[in-house]
């Protein structure tokens, strides 16, 4: 479970890193797509992690 948790945090870091990289290269459309596409699943994942913490 601990490894899964680390892996999930790593996924958040990867998404943020990629978005920032594309913004810094002025590829705003791709950066926006990465943000929009991961926003909902990322939010749902965070909710699931928090519920898991409470339990």
């Amino acid at each position: 479970m601990k490894i899964t948790r680390i892996y999930i945090y790593l996924m958040y870091i990867i998404v943020i890193f990629c978005i920032i990289s594309f913004i810094s290269e002025e590829h705003y459309i791709i950066a926006s797509l990465l943000f929009l596409g991961n926003m909902l699943p990322g939010y749902a994942m965070a909710m699931s992690l928090m519920e898991n913490n409470e339990n």
Binding site: M1, T4, I8, M11, I14, V15, F17, C18, S21, F22, E25, H27, I29, I30, L33, L34, G37, N38, P41, G42, A44, M45, M47, S48, L49, E51, N52
Partner: protein, 197 residues
Amino acid sequence: MINEQVYRRFNHTVAACFVIYFLFPEYILEIKREYYILLFWILIITVEYLRLNKDLKVIGMRDYESNRIAGFVWFATGTCLILELYELGFVPQSLAIATIIMAAYTDPLIGEANQRFGDKWGIGLGLLSSFLIYQLIIGVLFYSIIGSMVAVASERPKIKWFDDDLAMQIIPILVLTVLSLMDFSPDLPQNILGGKL
């Protein structure tokens, strides 16, 4: 336990980040960047081998994946294949980027829509999502319309040895690449990223 379906969906959408590859320099630690694709693919195959043969626990697997190749392997194989085809000069960068992002988002969206609202919504939202992604990245209606139809059609058949995670990447990119070579087809922007990270 965390919600495994949410975990699967998040894994799928994060796969769109593979497009960061196009910002990488040609050489990383004096090794050509395309070799890292191979290295990554071998890593994925190793994890899958351990999961299937040595009881390695990987969460987020569906029941039917317990004795067959998992979705993440098919997806990674499709993406690695696209990146290699790009490096070999067989597919344009614009199509590679659009197809990887499209497959990463459209497949889970269709799955979610099918479950919640039924198959028709799955097809409709799948077409809309893939069309928008192709149109935003490539910007040519001809390719966006055909690409979205081919992508959604590739998702439908359920074949054990040719998963939709692979089909949704390989079939649209090959169809669009072949079309772009035809005389009657509109011009396709080849490279949309030129920068180095």
